[in-house]
Amino acid sequence: MRLLIIEDDRDAADYLVKAFREVGHVAELATDGEEGLARALDGQYDVLIVDRMLPKLDGLTVIGTLRSKDVETPALILSALGQVDDRVKGLRAGGDDYLPKPYSFSELLARVEVLARRRGGREEMIYRVGDLELDRLSHQVTRGGEEVVLQPREFRLLEYLMKHAGQVVTRTMLLENVWDYHFDPQTNVIDVHISRLRSKIDKGFPQPLLQTVRGAGYMVRESK
């Protein structure tokens, strides 16, 4: 995956470039808004990571300009401003995701990978991982041919996980997308929901599909 990081803090930027390289992605760097805009217009990137506060041209204006020129590259906004209103502003300006600082790299990585995958592909109606099947229209879930009865919220949780099958989904992402909450619950509420879901779809089946990724979050995928 090719990434463009637009960030004026050298330390943070270098750290990100190295970290992304270690997981197999190519990250390029622009240190101000104008340079970032120029390179985003030229190059073919899978995801843009844009800091909100930039010299010369601020992050939201960069994204706004790109969108007005029909550049649809997914953009993730990094910002020290972390209130809900700031998030809303960022998304309205054309951003696709919003991560307040300070963040953990695993959180950033999970979200970037989710954004990159979003770029291609049409919306499928049935998600399949191994012998687990989820029908988005009828809200039916089966594993190995047998129906699994889920509560509405459990269904939405599984749907989100399966939509991003093979990708890391963090607790914050789940809280935002399945519950529409933007605060940190400070306890392991999400974990308990996950373990309930797990007991319904994984228990009694040979292959565990809902996996915990230590230090990051969860993932649905066939185990090797």
């Binding site: 809900v84 209103d85 519950w179 605060f183 306890t187 392991n188 308990v192 929901h193």
Partner: protein, 482 residues
């Protein structure tokens, strides 16, 4: 600008000038009206008198002939302060009366005229004015009856003199009065300006003087003082917050540093170093969470978060939060119920209210033990309610846990306060602080009550949201009237 110049430019002085002109015009109009009326009255009186005389005399003539008329006229003409009489032949020869000379041509004009005249026996040669009526008699004779206009003229002279004097007096008094009044007003305004300057130079404790007259200047001063109170409270709050944050974050930071230093000294192999680094990351994360929570509380307290207001359903919030926490409660052997049958629409910051309620629910779950079984022997129950009560919406979380002793209830809302019984449990001690800050931000309150047994925490919010114009000190919840 000289003092006098400044005086002349004040609104008060200009206003005084306007009032003065209006009043003077009005007084002049009044005087003029009086004069005109009086003049008319006198004229009417004269007219009436003359008409009566003429009627009498013509009667006399008709009844008794011209000789008799002459006699009658002479009799009347010789009375003291009499009217004017004159009887002439067609040719203009005087037959009777007391008029010596007239303006020329008067006798030829029948009807009413004003004329100069002289009496027959006038010693001096001054001319007088009279209002006369000329009548043509049968036979060509001409009768004139009239009255001197001296009264009218005297009134006119009096009025003119009075007018001149009174206008002069009014103008002088008005200017003097206006000058003094303006100076007084200016003094008050100057005092206010001076105080404002002192305040702007940095002494926020200064307040504008209030004279106690309850007039518009006093009200203005009162409002400005209230504004200054608010600013001072905000600045105090800001200072307190930054002091708190600095203090509250230094402790965990120091702890983290010490642990890292210890690891450097004592660790011997890679796994120990790794453990230390992992620990450092966890502590950092905890620190970041604390910092964000403190920031949120600070913003809520200073009223900054008030721009995210919208209409939402509190019942929906209660259901959402309840649904989020239900598995956690269940895992612990507790039952979490949501009692929110009816929609409870309220205006506020949906995100903050959700978070505040989540904090209360989190606390309830954390502090209730599975052994806290209520009297009827069933599982311990945590109830989340959303109901409307009058003009308020109440979000309630009740648990059968240990509760909070009444003495501690006000203390426990302060930042980082954990009661003795909860020191061993994880948590930052900020949950209740945030819940209260959010409640106050919306113009509402946080109540902590005894649930008999356990704790009932209530977030009470006004339906319409924070009242526009009402200043609420988010730390104390006191409403200030604007």
């Amino acid at each position: 600008m000289t003092a006098i110049g400044k005086l002349f430019r004040t609104t008060a002085f200009k206003l005084t000038l306007v009032y003065l002109i209006v009043f003077a015009l009005f007084a002049a109009f009044l005087l003029g009206y009086f004069a005109w009326n009086t003049r008319r009255l006198i004229t009417d009186q004269i007219t009436q008198t003359v008409n009566t005389e003429i009627a009498d005399l013509t009667d006399e003539l008709r009844q008794s002939g011209i000789r008799r008329l002459v006699f009658a006229i002479d009799a009347r003409a010789t009375r003291p302060s009499s009217n004017l009489y004159l009887l002439t032949t067609a040719a203009g020869e005087g037959l009777a009366g007391n008029v010596g000379s007239l303006a020329s041509g008067i006798l030829e004009r029948p009807g009413w005229s004003e004329t100069v005249y002289r009496r027959i026996d006038d010693a001096d040669t001054t001319e007088h004015h009279a209002l006369v009526r000329i009548l043509q008699l049968p036979g060509g004779f001409r009768l004139l009856v009239g009255r001197d206009l001296e009264e009218r003229e005297r009134i006119r002279d009096i009025v003119i003199a009075a007018g001149r004097w009174s206008i002069a007096v009014v103008v002088v008094l008005g200017l003097a009065g206006g000058f003094f009044v303006t100076r007084r007003v200016l003094k008050r305004v100057d005092a206010m300006t001076e105080t404002t300057q002192i305040i702007m130079q940095g002494d926020l404790s200064g307040r504008l003087p209030i004279a106690g007259t309850n007039d518009e200047l006093d009200r203005l001063a009162g409002n400005l003082n209230a504004m200054l109170d608010r600013i001072e409270a905000l600045m105090r709050g800001l200072k307190e917050v930054s002091d708190n944050i600095a203090h509250d974050l230094k402790t965990p930071l120091t702890r983290m540093r010490n642990r890292c230093e210890e690891a450097l000294r004592m660790a011997e192999d890679a796994s120990q170093y790794r453990a230390a680094l992992q620990n450092a990351i966890e502590e950092s994360d905890a620190l970041i969470r604390t910092f964000n929570a403190l920031l949120l509380i600070a913003r809520a307290e200073s009223g900054q978060a008030s721009d995210g207001m919208s209409e939402f359903d509190a019942a929906e919030i209660a259901r959402g939060v309840g649904e989020l926490y239900e598995p956690l409660a269940d895992d612990k052997g507790l039952v979490l119920k949501v009692d929110a049958p009816a929609a409870a629409s309220v205006r506020g910051n949906r995100e903050l209210v959700s978070q505040a309620l989540a904090n209360l629910v989190d606390n309830a779950i954390k502090y209730t033990a599975p052994k806290d079984v209520p009297v009827n022997g069933k599982q311990p129950e945590i109830v989340v309610k959303a109901i409307g009560e009058g003009d308020r919406i109440l979000l309630t979380v009740s648990d059968p846990g240990p509760g909070i002793p009444e003495a501690d209830r006000s203390r426990v809302v302060d930042r980082f306060v954990r009661l003795e019984q909860s020191r061993s449990l994880p948590g930052s001690g900020l949950g209740l602080s945030l819940a209260q800050a959010v409640a106050h931000l919306h113009g509402g309150e946080l109540w902590l009550e005894d649930n008999h047994p356990g704790l009932r925490s209530i977030i009470a919010l006004p339906r319409g949201g924070p009242a526009v114009g009402a200043l609420v000190d988010a730390r104390t919840g006191d409403a200030r009237s604007s």
